[in-house]
């Protein structure tokens, strides 16, 4: 399977984490000439990452790719079998995406210069991110995984969201974004050691650090 995109994209990271947990073979590729070439747009009209090519099947949008991987490779499911458990896992995923990652990315765009520096906007995003972390703290288990014992779709979403939140917070004066959120804090300490997440997290943190210090 080919995954088009960069491991630094939190959306791509979800797919990588799912593949790592499930033990699927994949190669991570940046499309030649970027994502707006006619060749790439023919695969994905939105010109975005991640885009997955699995045999002749092309799937994009991480929210679509993860359930696809589970349907296609039913071993080591990341979506729990019971409706209630699946609901909980998906809820943690959605909370991470909408209420933690979105404001964290808003902050990140200002840090790397993709958005103009705007103190009022940063303050608002920071408050939203703190709200999101509080909500997440209410739903997440303190480990070893986000829903408890097993690695699920929730972990695929929480990990990149937290990597961005913990990197962006300190730049805007929030020294420890996990302070006062004990479940999230314990979770992050535990998931770092998980075999599906360890390599990805170590590598991503390293790249983030070097990019941030180069600014």
């Amino acid at each position: 399977m080919k995954i088009f995109g960069s491991a630094l994209s939190p959306f791509v990271a979800r797919v990588i984490l799912a593949c790592e947990y499930k033990g699927l073979d994949y190669s991570l590729i940046m499309p030649k000439g970027g994502m707006k070439t006619p060749e790439f747009l023919a695969m994905n009209p939105f010109g975005k990452m991640p885009t997955v090519k699995d045999g002749s099947t092309i799937v994009y949008e991480s929210n679509v790719i993860l359930p696809y991987l589970d349907d296609k490779n039913p071993k080591k499911k990341i979506i729990p079998a019971s409706a209630a458990a699946a609901g909980k896992a998906r809820l943690i995923a959605t909370v991470s995406e909408t209420y933690v990652q979105e404001p964290a990315l808003d902050l990140f765009r200002q840090i790397v210069g993709r958005a103009p520096k705007d103190k009022a906007a940063a303050k608002k995003a920071l408050a939203e991110m703190e709200f999101g972390l509080d909500i997440l703290n209410g739903y997440i288990k303190p480990g070893p995984c986000a829903t408890g014992k097993s690695f699920t779709i929730a972990d695929c979403y929480v990990i990149p969201a937290l990597l961005f939140a913990t990197a962006a917070g300190p730049v805007f004066g929030l020294k420890d974004p996990l302070k006062g959120r004990p479940n999230v804090k314990k979770y992050l300490a535990a998931i770092k050691k998980h075999s599906a997440a360890k390599a990805h997290m170590t590598e991503t943190k390293k790249i983030m650090k070097s990019r941030l210090s180069a600014l």
Binding site: P45, A84, A86, V95
Partner: protein
């Protein structure tokens, strides 16, 4: 099952379409005293609709709820059985959500703005057209539903998104928002004929008049 919310919310509409299609018994209610009461915040700390309570299971977020409904009440499935079919249905749902519904929402705010932010309106209308052209590429020819003969999760998302495009864009001078999108146009005509979707749109229309005067 209890569903908190109102059908005019496109997010609530998705959930109600799934439940009605499957014939799952449910009550729709607005939380007493609004969504910021301690009682409601205990159900949904994000204080949003829809939120459902099904026995002891409480879930917010429409995307989570619709998948839950499918998993808990598998009869009259709304997600195709093959990995590829399911991915296509979910992709149409995502396109409707991310690229049509999201593009139309800023227009609702600009409706009564004085003066209107012309650049924002232009960007929104262009975004809607881009989303519609992508949707047009995915709809199955011959319909009547987005994926063909059967009603799916794709319809739960596409229908409210198109309803809002049809409701809002004419207020900004667009005569026929579906012009140039042949399959979308046919799809829209078909959903207006179907009993389930016709009824939902009738209820949305009445509520839009009451809430927004449009």
């Amino acid at each position: 099952m209890k569903v908190y919310g109102a059908i005019l919310s496109p997010y609530v509409c998705r959930v109600l379409l799934a439940l009605r299609h499957k014939g799952v018994k449910h009550d729709v209610l607005m939380p007493e005293g609004g969504m910021k009461t301690p009682e409601f915040l205990a159900l949904n700390p994000m204080a949003k609709m829809p939120t459902i309570k099904d026995g002891t299971t409480v879930l917010p977020e429409s995307s989570v709820i619709v998948e839950y409904i499918e998993s808990k009440y598998p009869k009259k499935a709304i997600i195709p059985g093959t990995a590829k079919g399911a991915a296509t249905a979910r992709l149409i749902a995502t396109v409707s959500d991310q690229y049509i519904q999201r593009a139309i929402s800023p227009l609702l705010k600009q409706r009564n703005a004085k003066p209107r932010d012309k650049a924002a309106v232009k960007a929104s209308l262009a975004g809607v057209q881009h989303g519609l052209s992508i949707l047009d590429g995915y709809l199955v020819s011959g319909g009547p539903w987005a994926m063909g003969k059967r009603f799916t999760i794709a319809d739960c998302y596409a229908l409210p998104a198109l309803y809002f495009v049809n409701l809002i864009t004419p207020l900004f001078g667009v005569k026929d928002p579906f012009a140039g999108h042949k399959k979308v146009k046919k799809y829209w005509a078909a959903v207006k004929r179907d009993a389930l979707t016709k009824q939902a749109m009738k209820e949305m229309k009445a509520m839009a008049k009451q809430w927004f005067g449009i």
